[in-house]
C-alpha cells in the first residue's frame, strides 16, 4: 500500500542486524510468491503468523452490517493470505517486547509505525506485546525493517511458536523480589527465538518470569512454563535459581501450572526449557489443535512422567555455551538512575495525591519509585508515544516497560521529580490515576477486531471505565482495588479467570433474537501470580453488566468481614446466593431493543447471518427450557465442587452436558430416551458428523468435551478432572446455545 515500501530496504541497509534483515528479505519474497500463487495459502498463513501477522475480523471478505451480510469487494479480488482470508483485508501486526522492556527510540519507532501503517493507535496487550491493527500485509516487510532497525522483532509473535517471554515489569526494583529476573528472561527469549527445537510445536508456547511468589506481575501460574526467582545457600554463598512450573494456561478451560522443580539452578533453565521444547515437539498433539497445548500433554502423561521424560531428554542435549555464558554477568546486571534520589513531595493537590497513591510504588532503591502510566484499554496514540519518549529521556535513563495490565511502568523516577513528571504526563493525556484499580479494566480486542470475538469486550470495558471512574474517588478502598478483566470469548485473552470480576463473551437467544451476553466469572485471584481461577456464575446480557458490577461491589462493601478479600467474600457468600442476587438481571427487559446491540456497536447483534422470521414455537421453547436446565445443573456442579463434593460435581457437570445435548437432539427426535449412550450417539450423528455443532473457529472442540466426558463417565473424578469438566460443561452448553442460534431459521421453518 505505501508508496515508500520499495525504498525502506535500501534506506535501512546496514542498520538492521544481518540475521533479521535476511529473515525479512525471505518473508518479502514469500509475499511476492504468494501473490503469484506459488505458495499454498495454508503454508503462507503459518509463515505470516510466525512473523506476527494475524488475521482480523471480517477478513473473509464479508461483514454483517446489522441488517444483512455485506460483501467486501477488495481490489485484489480472490487473492488470499490464508484459508478464507482475503489479501487486502486489514490485519493485525503483533510485536514482541521481551519482558516489556523498551527505550525511547523504540517508543518513537512504535509511534511512527502506528501513524503510518495503522490507525494512529498502538495497543499494549496482556502479554506485554504491542499490536497494531488495520495493517495491510503489503506494508509488513517495511514495518518489520523499521522495527528491526530499532532492534525489535516480530518473529514468532504468533503461530505455533515460542511467544513473547514475559517478565515482571518491576524486576530489579521490586522490594519483595528474590533477585532481578531481567537478564534471565532476556537470555531465554534470545535463546529460544528461532531455535530449531521450537519449530515443530502443535501449538504456541508461552514462558513467563516472576521475581516473587506473592504478587501477580509475572502470572507464572497461567503459562506453559513459569520461572519464579528463588535463592538458597550453598557452601555459605547465595545461589540463584528458579522454582519452575509447567503446563499452565487459560484458554477455554484454564489449567493451573504444576510444579516441575522447586529449585532449578539458573545455569539449568535454558537447557531444561530446551528439553521441554523437545518433548513437547515430539509428543504434543499435532492434529487436534484443541488438545495441542503442552498442558494437555502434561495432563495426559502426569507431571511425574512428564518430568522424567524431560530429564531424560536433558541428558541427551549437546552442550551449548549459550546456556551459561550470560549467567556470570547476570548478577551484575542493573539499570541506573538518571537523577539523584529524592523525597516524597511535601504538598499536593487531591488529584495528584490520588495519582501518587495508585500509580507510584517505592523501589527497593531508596529515593526512587516506579510510575505506572495507565493506558485506557491499553491504547496509546503516536503523539503520546513520542511525548512518553521525551518524558523517559528527561527523567530516567529510558527505563520503561510494558505490563500485563496493558500499561507502562517507568522505573527509576526520583521521588522529588514526581510533581514535574505528573504534570508532563497529565499534559499529554497520560496522567490518569487508578492504575491497577477497578477502573483500570483489562480487555482483549473482542469483537472490535478479533475474528473469535463473541461480545464487545472493549465496548464493555470502556463503559465500565467511564462509569466507575465517576465513582472512584468515593469508592471504598477494598472495592477500588478489585480487578476487572474482560474477554470477548471463552479463549481468555483478557485473562478473566484471574480477575475478581471476570467476564467472557457468550450469546443467548431471547425472543428469537441473538443477544450479546457475558458470563460472570467470580472467585479468581490476581495475586500470587494468578493464584486461582474463577468459575462462571451466570450469563448476563451485556447491557446489564455495569449493574452486575455495582451490585456485587455494593454487597461486598456492605457485607464483608474485616480484611476479607473479594475472593473470600464470594466463597463465604456462596455462588447460590450470588446467582440469586443477579437473577433479575439475567433477562433483558421486555421490549427493550437496546439489548439487541452491543456496547459501542449500534448494529443489531449477530454471530453470523440472523435468520429471518425467527419465532419461538413449541419445539423451540422446549429447547430453550432444556438448555436453561442444563445451565442450572452446571451451576449445581460448581456448588458441589466448592463444598468439596468432588465426585458429585463431576457427575453433575457430565449430566448437564447430556441435558444440553439431549435438548438439541429433541429437535429431530422428541422421543429420545434418557440413556446417555443413545443421547451421545444421536448427538454425534445429528450434530457432530454433520458439523452443525461446529464452532466457526473452534470446530468440533466443544462436542469432543461431551464425547470425552461420556467415555470417562464410569470412572472416579479427581479435584482437577472435576474442575476441568465443569468448565468444559459450561463451554459445551454455551456452544449448544450458539448452535441453536445458528439453527434458528431452520428450526422454526
Amino acid at each position: 500500500m505505501k508508496a515508500s515500501n520499495t525504498s525502506w530496504k535500501e534506506q535501512l541497509a546496514g542498520k538492521i542486524p544481518e540475521n533479521l534483515a535476511r529473515e525479512i528479505d525471505i518473508f518479502e519474497t514469500e509475499v511476492a510468491l504468494r501473490k503469484q500463487g506459488k505458495i499454498d495459502e495454508r503454508l503462507f498463513a503459518e509463515t505470516r503468523l510466525r512473523r506476527g501477522i494475524y488475521g482480523q475480523r471480517y477478513d473473509n471478505g464479508q461483514r454483517h452490517n446489522g441488517q444483512a451480510v455485506q460483501q467486501m469487494p477488495y481490489p485484489s479480488g480472490e487473492l488470499t493470505k490464508g484459508p478464507n482470508t482475503m489479501w487486502d483485508a486489514p490485519g493485525m501486526q503483533r510485536i514482541k517486547i521481551p519482558g516489556g522492556g523498551l527505550n525511547a527510540d523504540q517508543l518513537e519507532t512504535m509511534a511512527d509505525l502506528a501513524e503510518e501503517y495503522s490507525d494512529n493507535i498502538a495497543h499494549v496487550t496482556t502479554r506485554q506485546d504491542f499490536q497494531l491493527h488495520y495493517v495491510h500485509i503489503d506494508d509488513t516487510p517495511s514495518l518489520m525493517r523499521r522495527l528491526a532497525a530499532a532492534n525489535i522483532t516480530t518473529r514468532e509473535a504468533c503461530g505455533n511458536s515460542v511467544r513473547n517471554v514475559t517478565a515482571c515489569p518491576y524486576a530489579g526494583v521490586c522490594q519483595d523480589e528474590a533477585f532481578d529476573v531481567t537478564p534471565y528472561s532476556r537470555a531465554l527469549a534470545k535463546f529460544l527465538l528461532g531455535h530449531p527445537d521450537c519449530q515443530n510445536f502443535g501449538r504456541k508456547f508461552k514462558p513467563a518470569f516472576s521475581g516473587c511468589s506473592q504478587h501477580a506481575c509475572g502470572l507464572t501460574s497461567l503459562h506453559d512454563v513459569g520461572f519464579i526467582a528463588k535463592t538458597r545457600s550453598e557452601n555459605g554463598a547465595e545461589k540463584r535459581g528458579f522454582e519452575m512450573v509447567v503446563g499452565g494456561g487459560l484458554g477455554a478451560v484454564p489449567y493451573m501450572a504444576k510444579l516441575f522443580d522447586s529449585f532449578v539452578p539458573a545455569e539449568e533453565i535454558l537447557p531444561l526449557t530446551q528439553a521441554i521444547a523437545r518433548v513437547f515437539a515430539r509428543l504434543g498433539e499435532k492434529k487436534n489443535r484443541n488438545r495441542a497445548r503442552i498442558k494437555f500433554l502434561i495432563q495426559d502423561l502426569g507431571i511425574d512422567k512428564f518430568r522424567e521424560l524431560v530429564l531424560e531428554e536433558r541428558k541427551t542435549l549437546p552442550a551449548d555455551p549459550r546456556w551459561t555464558d550470560y549467567v556470570k554477568n547476570a548478577a551484575q546486571f542493573e539499570e541506573a538512575a538518571l537523577r539523584p534520589g529524592g523525597e516524597w513531595p511535601s504538598s499536593a493537590s487531591e488529584a495528584f495525591k490520588h495519582w501518587l497513591k495508585g500509580n507510584t510504588r517505592p523501589q527497593k532503591q531508596a529515593g526512587y519509585v516506579t510510575v505506572t502510566v495507565a493506558l485506557p484499554l491499553g491504547d496509546i496514540t503516536s503523539s503520546q508515544l513520542r511525548s512518553l519518549a521525551d518524558i523517559v529521556r528527561r527523567f530516567t535513563k529510558e527505563t520503561i516497560r510494558t505490563t500485563v495490565e496493558q500499561n507502562f511502568v517507568i522505573r527509576w523516577v526520583s521521588k522529588s521529580d514526581l510533581p514535574e513528571l505528573y504534570s508532563a504526563l497529565h499534559a499529554v493525556g497520560l496522567g490518569d490515576s487508578g492504575a491497577g484499580t477497578i477502573v483500570d479494566v483489562v480487555s482483549c480486542p473482542g469483537t472490535d477486531t478479533c475474528k473469535l470475538g463473541i461480545s464487545s469486550s472493549r465496548g464493555l470495558a470502556a463503559e465500565l471505565r467511564k462509569s466507575l471512574a465517576e465513582k472512584s474517588f468515593q469508592a471504598d478502598e477494598a472495592v477500588e482495588n478489585l480487578h476487572i478483566k474482560i474477554s470477548g470469548c471463552f479463549n481468555s485473552c483478557g485473562q478473566h479467570h484471574v480477575a475478581d470480576l471476570g467476564f467472557y463473551g457468550v450469546s443467548r437467544k431471547v425472543g428469537g433474537y441473538a443477544v450479546p451476553h457475558f458470563q460472570v466469572v467470580l472467585g479468581g485471584e490476581w495475586e500470587h501470580n494468578g493464584g486461582s481461577y474463577g468459575l462462571p456464575v451466570a450469563a448476563i446480557p451485556s447491557k446489564n453488566i455495569p449493574q452486575v458490577v455495582t451490585r456485587l461491589a455494593d454487597r461486598y462493601v456492605a457485607n464483608r468481614t474485616k480484611n476479607e478479600t473479594f475472593k473470600d467474600f464470594v466463597k463465604r457468600t456462596g455462588k447460590v446466593e450470588i446467582k440469586s442476587m443477579l437473577d433479575d438481571l439475567a433477562r433483558p427487559p421486555a421490549g427493550d431493543r437496546s439489548y439487541f446491540s452491543d456496547w459501542g456497536d449500534p448494529r443489531e447483534y449477530s454471530l453470523e447471518d440472523l435468520g429471518v422470521g425467527e419465532c419461538a414455537g413449541e419445539v423451540v421453547s422446549s429447547v430453550e427450557f432444556d438448555l436453561a436446565a442444563a445451565e442450572r445443573e452446571v451451576f449445581e456442579a460448581q456448588v458441589a465442587f466448592e463444598s468439596g463434593q468432588i465426585d458429585k460435581a463431576g457427575k453433575t457437570a457430565y449430566h448437564s452436558m447430556l441435558h444440553a445435548a439431549k435438548a438439541l437432539v429433541k429437535i429431530s427426535n422428541q422421543n429420545i430416551s434418557d440413556d446417555p449412550g443413545q443421547i451421545v450417539s444421536e448427538f454425534r450423528t445429528l450434530y457432530y458428523d454433520t458439523q452443525k455443532f461446529f464452532d466457526p473457529f473452534a470446530g468440533g472442540k466443544f462436542a469432543n468435551y461431551l464425547f470425552d466426558a461420556h467415555q470417562k463417565s464410569n470412572g472416579a473424578y479427581t479435584s482437577d478432572s472435576s474442575r476441568y469438566l465443569i468448565d468444559e460443561a459450561q463451554l459445551f452448553i454455551d456452544a449448544a446455545h450458539s448452535c441453536y442460534n445458528r439453527l434458528g431459521a431452520s428450526v422454526s421453518a
Binding site: M1, K2, A3, S4, S7, W8, Q11, R57, Y58, R63, N65, G66, Q67, Q70, M72, P73, Y74, P75, D88, A89, P90, E108, A111, D112, E115, E116, D119, N120, I121, H133, Y134, H136, P376, L377, D379, I380, T381, S383, Q384, R386, V428, G429, L430, D448, R458, G459, A462, R465, K466, G600, D601, P602, R603
Partner: protein, 193 residues
C-alpha cells in the same frame, strides 16, 4: 518529491458542543450504503483516548475520522493507497474526500447540524516520513504544489501557508489559512472548477 498518503483535516467550529457517540451509527450507515467510491470496512472507536483519533471509519483506500489529535477536533481524511497523477492531483483528491465527508456530516439528520466546519483553514499532512520528512527543505521542494492547490481551493483569494509542525519526528504538515471564510460547499466547488 512525490507526495503520497496525503491527509487533510478541517477543524470543527464548535468542538465543545460535539458528542462523538452519534458518529458511530452514522459511520456504520455509511458502510452499509458504501457512500463513497472507496471501500468502507469498519468503525474503530477511540473516544476513550485523550487527544486521540476519536471515531475512525476504516476504509481500504483511506480512513475518515472525527479526530481529536492535539485536542484539535476535526474531520480527517487519511489516504492509505498510493495514487497516480501529480502532487496537486493527490492534494486535491484528499481535500475533496475530506470536504465530502464534512458535507455529509453537516447534513446528517441524527447530528442535527451540530457539526459545522471551519472552511477558512485546512491542515494537510503527508503520512510517509520517507517520502516527506518533516523539515524545511521538504516545504521548499513542494511549496509550488501547495501554492497551486491553495490557489484553486480558495478561488484565487489570499491565503497564508506555513509549516504546520515543529517536531521533526512528526509528519510533514502544512497549514493553510484563507483571508476570508468559506463554506464546505464553496471549497468543493472551487476544487471542481
Amino acid at each position: 518529491m512525490e507526495l503520497q498518503h496525503v491527509n487533510v483535516k478541517l477543524l470543527v467550529k464548535n468542538p465543545e458542543e460535539v458528542d462523538l457517540e452519534p458518529l458511530i451509527p452514522v459511520f456504520h450507515s455509511w458502510i452499509q450504503g458504501q457512500v463513497f467510491e472507496e471501500l468502507l470496512l469498519d468503525v474503530a472507536d477511540y473516544r476513550h483516548v485523550q487527544a486521540g483519533p476519536g471515531v475512525v471509519l476504516i476504509g481500504h483506500q483511506g480512513n475518515y475520522s472525527v479526530d481529536n489529535t492535539d485536542n484539535r477536533l476535526g474531520v480527517r481524511y487519511n489516504r492509505k493507497a498510493a495514487l497516480d497523477g501529480s502532487n496537486q492531483d493527490r492534494l486535491k483528491q484528499a481535500a475533496r474526500a475530506a470536504l465530502t465527508a464534512c458535507q455529509r456530516l453537516e447534513a446528517e439528520p441524527v447530528l442535527k447540524g451540530k457539526l459545522r466546519f471551519n472552511g477558512q483553514e485546512m491542515e494537510l499532512f503527508v503520512n510517509d516520513r520517507l517520502l516527506a520528512p518533516n523539515r524545511e527543505s521538504t516545504l521548499e521542494a513542494v511549496k509550488a504544489d501547495f501554492q497551486g492547490f491553495s490557489k484553486q481551493l480558495f478561488g484565487g483569494g489570499e491565503y497564508s501557508l506555513s509549516n504546520g509542525g515543529s517536531d521533526p519526528r512528526g509528519l510533514f504538515a502544512v497549514s493553510l489559512r484563507a483571508s476570508k471564510s468559506f463554506s464546505v460547499a464553496d471549497l468543493l466547488h472551487n476544487l471542481a472548477s
